[in-house]
C-alpha cells in the first residue's frame, strides 16, 4: 500500500477540512431552515473527524481514530435529540423557520 500522506501531503488535508468546516459555519449563518442548519452542523463535525483521522495517520497512533468513534456516538445522540426538539417546535408553530422563534425578544 502506497502511503497517502507522503504522496499528497498533510497541508492539502488541512486545507480541505478547514474549507469544509467553514462551509458548515456559512450554512448555519446563511440558512433559515432549521433542518439544513442541522446538516451544516453535521458537515462541521465531519470536517473535524476527517482532520482527526489525518493526524492519527500522521502520528501513527490509533487513539485519534478511537476519538472519532466517540465523536460519532455524540453526533448520533445530538441529531436524535435535536430532531425531536424540531418536531416539537413544528407541532407548536407549524414551521421550522428559525426567524419565527423569537418569543423571548419581547
Amino acid at each position: 500500500m502506497q502511503n497517502v500522506l507522503q504522496e499528497i501531503g498533510i497541508n492539502n488535508y488541512i486545507y480541505l477540512s478547514t474549507i469544509l468546516f467553514c462551509i458548515g459555519i456559512f450554512g448555519v449563518l446563511f440558512r433559515r431552515n432549521a433542518i439544513v442548519m442541522f446538516m451544516s452542523i453535521e458537515i462541521m463535525l465531519n470536517a473535524v473527524n476527517l482532520l482527526l483521522v489525518v493526524f492519527s495517520t500522521y502520528h501513527q497512533d490509533a487513539a485519534g481514530q478511537v476519538f472519532v468513534f466517540f465523536s460519532m456516538a455524540v453526533a448520533a445522540a445530538e441529531v436524535a435529540v435535536g430532531l425531536a426538539i424540531l418536531v416539537g417546535i413544528y407541532r407548536n408553530i407549524h414551521s421550522i423557520d428559525i426567524d419565527k422563534l423569537k418569543n423571548l425578544k419581547g
Partner: protein, 172 residues
C-alpha cells in the same frame, strides 16, 4: 494516482457540501449530504482506515440521514418556499466564513509540526484488532468513556421519545 483520487474526492466533497447549503429544497440538500458523507468515507479508505469508513457509512449515511429524511417527510417540507435572509445577514455570513477560514488556516499552517519529517514505520496501528485493544484496554484504554457513550446513547434515546410524545398544546 493517489493524488488524482484525492483531488477528485475533495472536489466531490466540497461541491456537494456547497450544494447542500445552497439548494432550496431540503430533500435535495439531504441527498447531496449523503454524497458528501460517502466521499468522506472514501477519504477514510484512502488512509486505509477500513473500519472507520464502514462505521461512517453506517452511522452517517445510514442512520442519521434516514432520521433527517424522515423528519423532512414528516413535516412535509419538500417545497421551496424559504425566504432568503436579508442582505446584511448574508454579508455577515460571508465575512465570518472568510475570517474563520483565515484564522484556522493561519493557526494550522503556522503551528510547528511535532514530527519534522514524516516517515512510515510500517507498524500496524489502524486495523480493527489494534483499535479494539486501544479502545478496551484495561489500564490506559478508553473503557470508561466507552461506558459513558453507551449511557449517553440511552439517555438521548429516552429524551427523543419523551420530547416527541404527544402533549398538551402550549400556546405560543
Amino acid at each position: 494516482m493517489l493524488t488524482t483520487v484525492f483531488y477528485i474526492l475533495s472536489a466531490i466533497t466540497l461541491a456537494t457540501a456547497f450544494l447542500t447549503i445552497f439548494t432550496r429544497n431540503p430533500i435535495h440538500s439531504a441527498i447531496y449530504l449523503v454524497i458528501c458523507f460517502f466521499s468522506i468515507a472514501g477519504h477514510y479508505l484512502l488512509f486505509n482506515a477500513q473500519f472507520l469508513a464502514v462505521v461512517h457509512i453506517i452511522v452517517y449515511s445510514g442512520a442519521i440521514m434516514i432520521l433527517l429524511l424522515f423528519t423532512i417527510m414528516l413535516m412535509n417540507l419538500n417545497k421551496e418556499d424559504e425566504k432568503h435572509k436579508s442582505g446584511l445577514t448574508i454579508l455577515a455570513a460571508v465575512a465570518s466564513f472568510c475570517l474563520v477560514a483565515f484564522v484556522l488556516l493561519a493557526a494550522f499552517i503556522k503551528s510547528m509540526p511535532i514530527i519534522e519529517e514524516y516517515y512510515v514505520s510500517g507498524e500496524d496501528y489502524q486495523s480493527i484488532k489494534v483499535l479494539g485493544q486501544v479502545l478496551l484496554d484495561e489500564k490506559n484504554g478508553f473503557m470508561i468513556p466507552f461506558e459513558f457513550a453507551s449511557v449517553l446513547l440511552l439517555v438521548s434515546m429516552i429524551g427523543a421519545v419523551l420530547l416527541s410524545k404527544k402533549e398538551e398544546k402550549i400556546s405560543l
